[in-house]
Every structure is written in C-alpha cells, then in structure tokens.
Symmetry: C2
Subunit: 466 residues, 2 copies
C-alpha cells in the first residue's frame, strides 16, 4: 500500500512545480484541496496536498517526473463527475487537473476526425461538431460538465452506446504521458490502421492508472439527419424491461432505449416534465436515420412491440423542445433521487440483454426483503442498469453493503459485469474478484507494475490495496 | 535474434507433445511443414519443424509450456491467408495450428452474441448467424477460408468496415493462453463492460505475439433488412476517388465504397462479370438499412453525387445473383492480378479520406516514373488502399523495393498508416519506424518482453530483429 505523501516530499514537489509551471499553476488552498478530493461516487472526501494545473503536454511530463522523483502520489483529474472514485487522491499528493488543457485543436469534416485536449467538455465538443454536420455519439449523463480526458480514462458510455458504442470506439489516437514522464503518440488519424499493438485500446478505460492523455484524436461520423424520440409508459418495470428485450429481439436497433422504474419516475415527475398518471415504468426510445419516413416507421415499430408487451401509453416528442424535456427528465434522475432519502449508493451493473427483466425482478425482491428502497434506471437496451439503493443513514449501511454484494453477485451470476460504464476505481476495487479470476487480476497487477513500478500514479484504484 | 530451433530440442518437444496430445496431433511430413511455412504475403517459405494441432485450450497450454520448457519457437497459425506473414515460422520450431478447434459453441439471438473456437471459418460463422437473422459484419476478402482466430490476431477488416468497423469492434471476450501457458479469460459477454484493463483490446491485433486465443466471444447485431448494391464506373481512378470522398463529405455512409482502378478492372473483367466498356475505374457501393424506400433513396443519393463527380455509368444489382457477381469480381482482384505479371507485392496503406485522390495520383505518377505497373483497389471509403506493384522478376526487385518505401512514406507523410488492415508481421517490420517514433516502438518491445520474456512466441514479427 502506498503511504500518504510525506510533507517534506510534497514541499519538494511544490517548489519544483512552482518553478517549472509558475506559481499560478500550483494550488494549496484548503477549500480547493477538499474540492478536488470529492467526486460523484459518494465514497467520501480525500483531499490532495496540491492541485497542479498544467497547460501543456510538457508541463504534464514535468508534473509526473517531479512526483516520481520525490515519490509523491499523483492522481489525474478531469471534471470530478466520475461515479467510481477514479479521480480521488486516496493517498494525498498531487491532483493533476487537466482543466486548463481545453482546446479543440481540429475538427475536420473531410477526414471525419477531431483533435482535442483532454480538458474539453464533452458537450461542448458535441455542439461544435454538430454545428458542422458531424456527430460525436458517446453521451454520458454528465456531458454538460465532464471532459473528454475523463471519458477516455473511464471509457465512458451513455444512452447512445446501444447503437453507437462507447468512448473507446471513437478514440483513434492518443498523445499520452507515461507514469515516468515519457511522452508517446499512439494510434492514428485514419479510420483504419493496425500498425503495432493497440496501446490506445489498452489506455482507454485504464482509469488514470497507466498514464495521462494530453491529446485525443477522435473519430466522428455524419450527423444523423433525422432523430425521433418517444416516451412509452408501462404499469410495471418488468413489463418495460421485457418490452426492451422484445424490441431488440425483433431486429430493431434504436439509438437509445432507456428505462426508468417507478421510484425514478416519481423522483423527477413534475420537474419540467409531467409523466402520465399511473406510470409505473417508462422507456425512453430514440431512433435516428437518414430520412423521416424510415425513422418514423422504425419508431412506430418500437411502439407496436411495446404495446404488445403491455405498454399503456406512448408520447412522441413533437419538437426539439419536447425532446429536450424528456431527456432532461432522464438525465436528472441521479440527482433527483438524492432528494428521496438522505443517502444513496448507485451501482452500474450490466447483464445479458435476455436477463434484464429477471434481474430487475430479483433486485426488487431483494430490496423488499432487506427493507431498502431500490430505484433502477439506465440503459435497458444494452443491459446496463443503474441500480440505486436509497437509505436513511449510517445505521442502515451494513444492510446496504449486503445489498451491494448481492446485487453484484447477481449480475455476475447471470453472465454480467459489476460495472457497465462507471469503472472500478475506488468504489468497486474490492468487488473485482467477484467477476474476474485470480489469474486475470494478477496479470493486470503485473501490467500496472510494468507501467508504474513505484505505484505512484493514481494508487489504490481498480485493485484492492495489499 | 531468436536462433533457429535446435533439432534436439525440437525432438524433445515432439516427444512431449506426442505423449500429451497423441501422435495424430503432431505432424512432421516435409510437404506439410513447407505448406505451413507459406501464406498470402508473398514473402517466401519458412518451414516449421513440427506442425501441432491441438483440440482444446488445455492442449494449447501444453504446446506453449513444452515450447517454453525446451526453448523452441512457436508460431500460431490459422488458415494461412494472412498478407503480412504473421503466421510464418521464421525461425522454425512449432507451427501451432488452431484448425481443429472449429466449433461454434453458441449463437444467442437474445443476447446478440456468438461464442466460437478460433478455427471457425469466418464465412461459415456469417452464414450461421445470418440464418438466425443476425449479422457479423467484418468481411475480409478471404472470408471463405480465413478463421476467426486469424481475424482476431490480425484485427482483420474488410469492405464493410466503412460502416461497421473491424474485428476488434466485435470481440467482447477472449479465452487466451499466454506465452508461458497460463490461461486467462478476459473481457465479457455483455455489450458494455469496463471492469479492469481492456486486455481484449490489447490482444486483438497483437499478431500472434502476445498469446493464443482459444475461445472468442463476439458481438452480433441485427441483420440489416435491406441491402442494395451498385457498380458505378468512371473514366479515371482519380475521379472515382474524388467521388468517394464527396459521398462521405455529404454525410452519406454506405456500408461499402470499394474502389477499383483500370488495371484491377481489366484483370477481372469477363471472369463471371463484364464491366461496361471504357471503364477506367469503378466504385462498388453497397447501402443497407431498415426499409426498401430509405435504402433505395440512399443508393440514389450515392449515384447522384457520383454523377456530379464524373461517373459515366451506374449499374444497380437487380437480384442477389447479380450482387454476388459484383462482389465476386471485387474479391478476385488480388488473385487475378497474379496473372498480369509473374510477381506482385501488395501494400495496404490507409490515408485520411480527404487525401485519397491525391495519393492515388501520386502513386500512379510514381509507377510511371519507375516504369512499374501499379494497380490500386480497396476500401476507398475509409482510405484503406491496396496498392499492388506488378513486376517481371527478381531483376526488377530493387526498383520495387524503392517503390514500396516511397509508397509507405507517402502514406505516412499525409497522416496515414503503413497498414490499414493486413498487419505488420514479417512483411512490414522494417517499415514500422516510418510511422512510429522510437519511444513508441521501444515501449512496444518492452511490452512484448513483459508477456514473452524469452521471445519464443512468434519471434521476428512486428519489430525488426536485433
């Protein structure tokens, strides 16, 4: 286990980085240190000793070299919207924030690529490319504040992953600083390319433990010309889940098929959008394509399949404003659930699509058995469910912990995963063994040591500390 | 450099494997050894000392352990259709053929996955999943004989990569034997999942140098309901290339947009399909989608854009038989070119899409300058061009070698890659430095040593021997 950073070594790093980056790039104000010690994982606060804000790849190299040389832990951080504690500086040391590296360097409609710095906000990149008739599909719920660098670290997903895949499917190339400060350029700018090992594939999703991106080359696609969205309500979440499976089994591939259960709906109902009365569950289906008739036809097909599976009502968004209201309701579930009970934990299992309804039933039964409120929403189309346990406070925590283990065991038991898109980080490091065999975990620990022998880059993440 | 296997050590491996796998799984007939020493890369013949045919993961483990223990090189081999020499046993030793592991273990329409052994022939998997309304998109030209294991090793592409991506985009999970014989299961069975490092991403495309797949879990998608195909001819290949760029720039995404130049056309003309007279170049465009009207509309759009860019004629396939004839012409180019001149080398550059026409012009000029016949065909839509230099024999080889270097330098110079889909292997190991910086190559060499300290698994591939 990496010890907490030694104060004299931190002072050494501070002096070195104030010289190299200028004093304005090194912060040690207690409020800031605490702010960089929190994220959206609800796993506690771990203040850094320093927050360092480099403005270039060479400054990132300088930070990593200074930390290696003084044996001070360093943890890269984006917008602190992560759900697994990936950016928490568990052992103090340096929070290496990429927020100042926020330039969009290139958008090329001819080559269908964008080149950006890691601190670019995902939603801003989306708007910039859409203004030029292009599309960057990955859409994590935090897209208005999260950054491309964080998305790369966590291999972020989102609703549109159902049709369009996740961040890794769009990362063609990376400029990357290794833990020892070496700078490499891996990958390519062309759509295809197989020269050498796919280091880009390895780095995307490595949760800030194998290096730090300083430039990201992204593939774009043409902006779909037509998008249509409908909210379809059901009496029960199991009906909704069955309908989602039936849509996919019929060979229909909407770009999103989002599920909300009764608790999720009641948490957001009336805040900008009012759900039909008695909606016990809902699917938010969005279809895109090349012309109005085919997209309308496909959305109609989704509606028919849902009706055959017990849907009570279907509301198609009639304009962009209505569409945004539906999405805003969906995206605000995570925050709205905080108002239901004082505490919540949010899980992120993914299960084979054929098992979605069964898993949801079993989770509801588990909640009733343990006397816990369980809210399930998320990306039903690809089996990625955000299961939230809501509770009153620390006295209920042991029960909640039992619920978490049972939930993850259930997911793995049906052939699923403990994390569909949030990452392992700190929040799930003690549960990785539920899914992965000891040999696989050992190999990954060895690989981490290969890249970071001293274990100074983002220590304590992904694997339990020994 | 790994020396050629020592005969006494080979004898030791042979005895051990005949005991472990049975004598029928170990071959040393000279004709067989020579056959396993060739592939489709035209780089020569490198006979193995033994061909070993395991039938299970544990037998693959036994082979790798025996080779490690006796310090005998071992090279995995699929169907020997590779174009970069990835399966050539350069230093002799054992050819580890996966051809007996050819079971399709599972096709799940509910979960949209298939689980297969590595020796399954790609085209047979395609047929099996299509019979159940599902689609496995990656379509290398050799699909009637190549295997999924080989596709995984090389991260194989194909025409449909334009819309649907390459092999790595469909590999969810791998059972994998490491060079030291350890068996791991990496990845997942769900569409999404981010637990741990993306070892699957690293292993796909590692060209048989980091381990051997023994089971592959593949993502499937719903079979597109409508497919339409057209051959569009042009006076010149530069016109055709410009038209291809214009189609994509207009936001149209066909599933294939294949280019053939005049030499390619004349090589296949009249063999089952007759091209319109005076066709100096052609695009083979295929569009798919959810209903006939939208697909017809989209193919019409492709046709209009091509007409505005100088197309002379457009022939839409009227039925499946005509469609197959067009594809058969396209797929037979590589073989037909062999009849034009006694020798050929086939390159596999990929360039940014905006540079395709320019690159083709410069390649033609280069061919004229050097007095060499240059045939260009391939996946114009994603900039992946197969550039073939045709020549009379060894006396022309120095000129051909100059042409290869100039071609690869040109590709890299415009922001492209030396290999879009064939891999580096043996054929391009001396050119990797044209594209990748020394630091990146060093890191990859270190990574290879991490997985294979003795350098016995597929030695001599990807990087120059030292």
């Amino acid at each position: 286990m990496t010890a907490r950073a030694d104060p004299s070594q931190v002072a050494e790093v501070r002096a070195a980085l104030e010289r190299a980056l200028g004093p304005g790039a090194v912060k040690a104000d207690p409020d800031q240190l605490r702010a960089y010690g929190r994220d959206e994982s609800d796993t506690g606060e771990f203040p850094a000793d320093l927050v360092v804000l480099p403005s270039s790849a060479s400054e990132v190299q300088a930070v990593l070299r200074a930390c290696q040389s003084a044996a001070v832990p360093v943890t890269p951080v984006g917008a602190r919207t992560g759900k697994s504690g990936g950016s928490l500086p568990l052992h103090g040391g340096v929070s290496l924030s990429l927020e100042r590296m926020n330039r969009i360097k290139l958008i090329s409609p001819e080559d269908l690529i964008a080149v950006v710095e890691p601190g670019v906000i995902t939603g801003e990149l989306m708007k910039a490319v859409e203004a030029r008739g292009l599309f960057y599909p990955p859409d994590p719920a935090s897209l208005d504040s999260c950054t491309i660098g964080g998305n790369v670290a966590e291999n972020a997903g989102g609703p549109r992953a159902l049709k369009y895949g996740v961040t890794r499917d769009y990362v063609l190339g990376l400029e990357w600083v290794l833990p020892d400060g070496r700078l490499i350029r891996a990958g390519r700018r062309t759509i295809k390319g197989v020269a050498g090992y796919d280091l880009v594939g390895l780095f995307v999703g490595s949760e800030g433990t194998l290096g730090v991106s300083t430039e990201v080359t992204l593939q774009l696609i043409p902006l779909p010309r037509q998008v249509m969205t409908a909210l379809i309500t059901f009496a029960s979440v199991v009906d909704a889940a069955r309908a989602a499976s039936a849509v996919l089994a019929a060979g229909v591939l909407p770009r999103t098929l989002e599920l909300m259960d009764d608790l999720s709906i009641s948490a957001v109902d009336g805040r900008g959008f009012s759900f039909p009365p008695n909606a016990g569950a809902a699917l938010l289906a969005e279809v895109d394509g090349i012309d109005e008739a085919s997209v309308l036809g496909e959305l109609g097909r989704v509606g028919e399949i849902c009706e055959r599976n017990g849907a009570s009502q279907s509301l198609a968004a009639q304009n962009e404003d209505q569409r945004q209201k539906l999405w805003s309701a969906r995206r605000s579930i995570a925050i709205a659930l905080r108002a239901v009970k004082p505490c919540k934990i949010s899980e992120d299992i993914a299960v084979p699509r054929s098992r979605i309804a069964e898993v949801i039933s079993r989770l509801k039964a588990m909640g009733e058995e343990l006397g816990l409120a369980v809210a399930t929403y998320g990306h039903a189309g690809d089996g990625n469910l955000h299961v939230n346990v809501l509770y009153e406070g620390p006295s209920e925590r042991p029960k909640v912990d039992r619920a978490i283990v049972r939930m993850l065991e259930l997911a793995v038991g049906v052939g699923g995963t403990i994390t569909g898109e949030h990452g392992v980080g700190y929040a799930k490091r003690d549960f990785l063994h539920l899914e992965q065999a000891p040999e696989l975990i050992s190999l990954q620990r060895e690989l981490k040591r290969f890249f970071d022998p001293a274990g100074l880059l983002n220590p304590g993440k992904m694997f339990p500390e020994i």
